[in-house]
């Protein structure tokens, strides 16, 4: 319950302004909280006179948390390839493991995995638990969930990280639920709290409008899914040493109630958006599909990938796989060129860690300029074609 000390409250309204959920209001001179309060605690910190507090009945800690040790990364593997996010997780996992003075392990599940575990070691893992079995050839929530859950039960890692991909966001909730522990979704920052070694998990919520830092105080492991393209992988080091442990789970644990009939790889773009060094993005400012073609041309000339705001995707000028932002992809290329994109926070969260951002927009107050390294106020229909021509000329030289 959110407690309001009516005596102390001065009715200043600060809490009302801070509450993302519209759950607290000043009425008749003091704050009143509504039923839709999520107990997020934002207003408690904001109230300058300390009139607000959250009453917590502490939950009992089950078992001894100190029995759990080590950092684990689920290394996603599909269609012959370890997902790039696995290496990113090993990067941040290495840091967390060193800070906790524990080992970093990767869990690799699939079929025909030759050569993959070695790469995980070169990327930072001390140990790789490998389950190479034909019944794991296709991803299923059941089989992958059972195998990972069993491994966690047996080895008791304190932290488990997985990519916030279609696969990670699908089966990790099952793992967390069966282990009766907490799961933080879609994290963009992970750190160890100095006092007690707890994992501080920071994530965007509310469509990217707010960030929340979350802990898992009473249960282990602490599990988080992490956004792809946010963490940095270590440089590959083939000389690194590590152990590969082959695990043979019982056949019954690799059975799935969900039967995969077919697994279709859809035509990927020539340049994979998430891995491209240069991304050219267009928004509603392109006016129509014909206008949007200019984005493709510039991208072609620069050897980059094409991206779009949701407004452009919703208008049908380009497919959803190209959408960047909160409900699309997160990209962090060397260069991101935003044309006719206003820079709504939901778009910014998907691209603001790009190294260099160029924004072209006719509105000098467009929020995209707040994140732009170089901003150009002007009509994209004049600027973009000229820029494409000049760069094409340069390529020809």
């Amino acid at each position: 319950m959110l407690r309001i000390d009516i005596e102390a409250c001065i009715g200043c309204g600060v809490c009302e302004q801070t509450c993302t959920f519209g759950a607290i209001k000043v009425e008749e001179g003091h704050a009143v909280v509504g039923d839709n309060c999520t107990l997020c605690g934002n207003c408690v910190d904001a109230c300058e006179v300390g009139a607000l507090s959250i009453e917590r009945e502490e939950r009992a800690t089950k078992g001894n948390l100190a029995d759990w040790s080590g950092v684990w990364v689920y290394a996603e593997y599909r269609h012959g390839r370890t997902a790039p996010v696995a290496f990113e997780l090993l990067g941040v996992g290495r840091k967390l493991a060193d800070e906790r003075s524990v080992k970093l392990a990767a869990v690799l599940l699939g079929s025909n995995l030759a050569g993959q575990a070695e790469e995980l070691i070169a990327a930072g893992a001390d140990v790789v638990y490998r389950v190479d079995d034909p019944s794991l050839a296709h991803f299923t929530d059941d089989a992958y969930g059972n195998v990972l859950t069993d491994l966690i039960r047996e080895h008791k890692p304190e932290i488990v990280l997985a990519g916030a991909t279609a696969i990670g966001r699908s089966f990790i909730p099952r793992v967390a639920t069966s282990l009766a522990t907490g799961l933080t979704a879609d994290c963009t920052d992970l750190a160890i709290r100095a006092e007690d070694g707890a994992l501080l998990q920071t994530r965007p919520a509310f469509g990217g409008n707010i960030m929340a830092t979350i802990v898992c105080p009473h249960t282990r492991p602490q599990i988080a899914t992490v956004r792809p393209m946010v963490m940095k992988p270590l440089a590959r080091d083939a000389a690194r040493q590590g152990a590969i442990i082959d695990v043979k789970p019982a056949a019954a644990r690799m059975k799935s109630r969900v039967r995969v009939i077919e697994s279709v790889m859809e035509e990927q773009d020539q340049v994979n958006l998430c891995e491209a060094d240069v991304v050219v993005a267009g928004g509603r400012g392109l006016d129509d599909a014909k206008g949007f073609a200019q984005i493709r041309e510039l991208a072609d000339v620069l050897g980059g990938a094409v991206a779009a705001s949701r407004a452009a995707v919703d208008s049908g000028w380009i497919g959803y796989p190209h959408q960047v932002g909160q409900t699309g992809k997160t990209v962090a290329p060397k260069l991101y060129i935003a044309c006719g994109i206003s820079g709504a926070i939901q778009h910014l969260v998907g691209m603001q860690s790009s190294e260099t951002i160029i924004a072209i927009n006719k509105d000098p107050n467009a929020p995209i300029f707040d994140v732009a390294t170089y901003g150009v106020v002007g009509d994209l229909f004049e600027i973009v074609p000229k820029l494409t021509e000049r760069m094409r000329g340069r390529n020809a030289r």
């Binding site: 319950m1 909730p173 469509g207 109630r257 790889m265 926070i345 170089y374």
Partner: protein
């Protein structure tokens, strides 16, 4: 076929904007709406009912106001509405939420098919659907973009993956979470609106659903929010100015040094 659709009432994110000057959230009278993905889950449930027969029950955990969202769902084709509401549920994380919702589903006699949205636009975790399935011990599929068939006690569907899609099949009872591509939700019919006005919403509290007091609300949650803040955007900016040709020349220069 008994179909249960889980719907969440959420604040309309469109109304929420970050004020770049104060870096606080500017909210002018935030409206509560049905979570947009849940609209698609509801529509799919109603279509499946129309095609294969059965009933659609909408279920929500939330404060009494969430009843409005349930009425809206009835206007869009649901037959029955159940609200689980209790002060003790406040502050629930997904672990506590899935306990509450799965207990409620058991209480109303279970379901052959449970539909959820891909994610809620406020919490954004996408964890509730899989969590309910696990607690009920039934199979599930996430990110469903198409139901192919639902016959002979099994459902066949297409689920999106990062590199394409999988066609999968599972026996009922089962749960699925849907993406927006799955359908175009209908607008409420006049008949539906009339029904929504008069329908009696079944309201259940923690005791009614036999909730475990250690698994609900803030106290029963496994995760704890320790801080909420607004994202910082980088401030550095250089504006390139001049005529179109001058600006383009500067851009070419920048690009050449970067590429």
């Amino acid at each position: 076929m008994k179909i249960v659709v889980c719907v969440k009432q959420v604040p309309d994110a469109k109304d929420v904007r970050l004020d770049p000057n104060t870096n606080t959230l500017a909210r002018d009278g935030v409206q509560s709406i049905m979570n947009p993905y849940d609209r698609h889950a509801l529509e799919e449930g109603v279509r499946l009912k129309e095609q294969y027969g059965g009933t659609v029950t909408v279920l929500s955990m939330g404060p009494p106001q969430a009843g409005e969202t349930l009425r809206e769902a009835v206007a869009c084709g649901a037959d029955e509405a159940v609200l689980v509401s209790d002060r003790a549920f406040a502050g629930a994380d997904t672990w506590a939420t899935t306990h509450t919702l799965s207990q409620a589903i058991k209480k109303i006699g279970g379901a052959d098919l449970i539909l959820c949205g891909k994610q809620a636009i406020d919490g954004d975790t996408a964890q509730v659907g899989p969590g309910i399935a696990e607690r009920l011990g039934i199979p599930y599929a996430t990110y469903v973009k198409k139901v192919v068939t639902c016959e002979n006690g099994a459902i066949r569907l297409q689920r999106m993956m990062d590199d394409g899609y999988d066609t999968v099949e599972m026996d009922l009872p089962a749960l699925m979470t849907v993406v927006k591509e799955i359908n175009e939700p209908r607008i409420p019919s006049l008949k539906g609106k009339m029904k929504a006005k008069s329908i009696a919403i079944t309201t259940l509290n923690a005791a009614d659903i036999g909730a475990d007091p250690d698994q609900i609300g803030l106290k029963g949650s496994t995760t704890q929010v320790v801080r909420v803040f607004t994202p910082q955007v980088r401030g550095e900016r250089a504006m390139l100015t001049g005529t179109v040709d001058e600006v383009v020349a500067q851009l070419v220069e920048k690009l050449e040094s970067l590429l």
